[in-house]
Symmetry: C2
Subunit: 358 residues, 2 copies
């Protein structure tokens, strides 16, 4: 649909036809489209110059569900793409209370001191309910937020993790095109959100707390396996002994996993985000990861695989939503689910009955 509108404007500007049979409506559409085109162009120009206001406005377009905005967003993302390259994308997860905001505040500030430009994004599929629970309150990063070279953006809202993911993926590209070279993507770990963030980042960092008792307990299965580093926060004061024990336990746990395709051996580090201890070591580790995966080709290969994954993901999401949002399907689905509950049909017969409708 939006492709159509797009094209008609394009072909008009290139065509030699007389416009005698252009209807009033399509003339309006062409005028709108031209206006959008020119504002797109200047927005993109500002964005590529590193203007944070332009970046923010572009992300707002990406996040919008309005058709007109979607078209503009697509054009801007496409224009930004050739310039979006040289960043490192770091995923950061950890349960609430582990100190993610404090860590990002410390880590981000350190990176800016090193001359980096740092963008902080978030993936929180629950944010449409809680109105942006993570990063929504920017004051939690009061130092970082005042920095010229920092850009902080709360999680987009969305009906589904898929929608949030798409918006975040496109926002990453826009940040990169605006010259940000470290992109931190925070997630709070609702549902599948860690897997989602893992599939859009180069380096995945699990933030943990040193605590008494069983350190392995309470970690969602699969998260440790995804981690390139486990960073144990609040390793200060009375906590230091527990933190060292936790490190040992995690190191042992990590040995149980098969080697990663990146050939990177996940590391366990101790930090104190509050006292800014161990922060530079985290960056050294990430730099080491980047250079070793650049060298063995994994870095580029992984990004391509991620892009392909997202291609298939987007298509499959679309196919499903198209099918299940069909009003006929909705009615029949309810009926078939009831028949299943009453043991009156098999899953496959029910599926066939539903597929006949589309």
């Amino acid at each position: 649909m939006n492709e159509h509108q797009h094209k008609s404007a394009l072909s008009e500007s290139q065509s030699n036809n007389s416009s005698g049979n252009v209807s009033a409506e399509s003339a309006q559409r062409i005028r709108d489209s031209r206006r959008n085109k020119s504002s797109e162009k200047s927005l993109l120009k500002d964005l590529l110059e590193g203007n944070k206001t332009a970046l923010g406005r572009s992300i707002t377009l990406v996040e919008s569900n309005q058709l007109k905005h979607k078209e503009m967003a697509e054009a801007i993302v496409e224009g930004a793409l050739p310039h979006a390259k040289k960043s490192i994308r770091v995923g950061i997860t950890g349960v609430p209370g582990v100190g993610k905001s404090t860590f990002i505040e410390s880590f981000g500030s350190y990176l800016i001191e090193q001359g980096k430009k740092v963008a902080v994004l978030a993936v929180d599929p629950s944010s449409s309910v809680s109105h942006g629970s993570i990063l929504g309150d920017k004051t939690r990063m009061e130092k970082l937020v005042t920095q010229k070279n920092a850009f902080i953006r709360p999680s987009p809202s969305g009906d589904s993790l898929g929608g949030v993911a798409r918006k975040t993926r496109e926002s990453i590209l826009l940040c990169e095109a605006a010259g940000f070279d470290v992109i931190l993507i925070e997630t709070v770990g609702v549902g599948q959100s860690e897997t989602t963030v893992h599939s859009m980042t180069d380096f995945f960092l699990l933030l943990k707390l040193a605590g008494a008792g069983d350190e392995l307990q309470g970690i969602k299965r699969g998260i440790v396996e995804m981690a390139d580093a486990i960073v144990i926060n609040k390793a200060d004061g009375d906590n230091q002994k527990a933190a060292r024990e936790a490190r040992l336990e995690f190191k042992r746990a990590l040995q149980l996993y098969p080697p990663k395709p990146s050939e990177w051996k996940p590391q366990v580090q101790l930090i104190s985000a509050l006292y800014e201890k161990g922060i530079s070591e985290v960056w050294e580790m990430i730099t080491e990861f980047k250079s070793s995966t650049y060298k063995n080709g994994h870095f580029e290969h992984n990004r391509q695989e991620q892009n392909k994954f997202w291609l298939f993901q987007s298509i499959n999401d679309h196919l499903k939503s198209q099918f299940y949002n069909d009003p006929k399907v909705k009615i029949e689905l309810e009926k078939q689910l009831r028949l299943i509950e009453e043991n009156k049909t098999t899953a496959f017969t029910a599926a066939r009955a539903l597929l006949k409708l589309s």
Copy 2:
């Protein structure tokens, strides 16, 4: 498509129209359909009487990819459904060499001595390549295979795990309709096959070996979490000490997992399939599981959830295969994947280009 053919026969037999305008082709179709109907009926009758030849032939229809067979299979499965109820479905997994065949031979024979009728199926998505690597060689269960009350069937072949899964699910129903009350479903653990078998069984049993060294090593993540029991095989002779140690280690590992929705606490048992030790205890445990999950409602609820899962799974598989098998999509997909590799498009723009085609 097959629905169509079905209906035309049905409406013909019920209609009052003159058949003057029935073409030769459709008359043939009607005759075929009538013939199929009568052979379906007698096959179903034999199946419901517990005839193993009829069961085997019905499963062959379920496994066939021919349209005509699919129609017959659907009718038979539908006819069998009201009679398919009272079994327990046990999934059995474990790495090659752990002694799955020997265990099934011992366990199956024991069950038959207890007056049970035992069906053994397999899910092996690699079997289309290896021509049925598990259960293909029935002689590995030489005792069981001669039993009147045992039915052994190798894995269906299929292009995809989804196809194999559908065929196995329908075969389970047919076995149950034929009066088999214990259904053992073996899988060798290729790709996602354990998850697949887990989602079609009531009780999931992980077979392990007692061995020196780190017992947790080498287990695919998520498998232990799915298990209702870990059964350590070859706990005989010199192995007994190692087996007891392995049991302790697994018990400790199982405590790390959150409680199951079934409220069942996974157990660790020692057996020697070869010397037929510990076999009756395995059955006692499964019986206990069945009665406790019947009581708390989990058993029935879980089956319904599984049916619903398979409903959505079938639909989603179909939507995807329909889309990706479109020749236009195939050509464009190759092109878009190349553009992604060259960093010339985003995953989402590529997805939009592909979705425009359908």
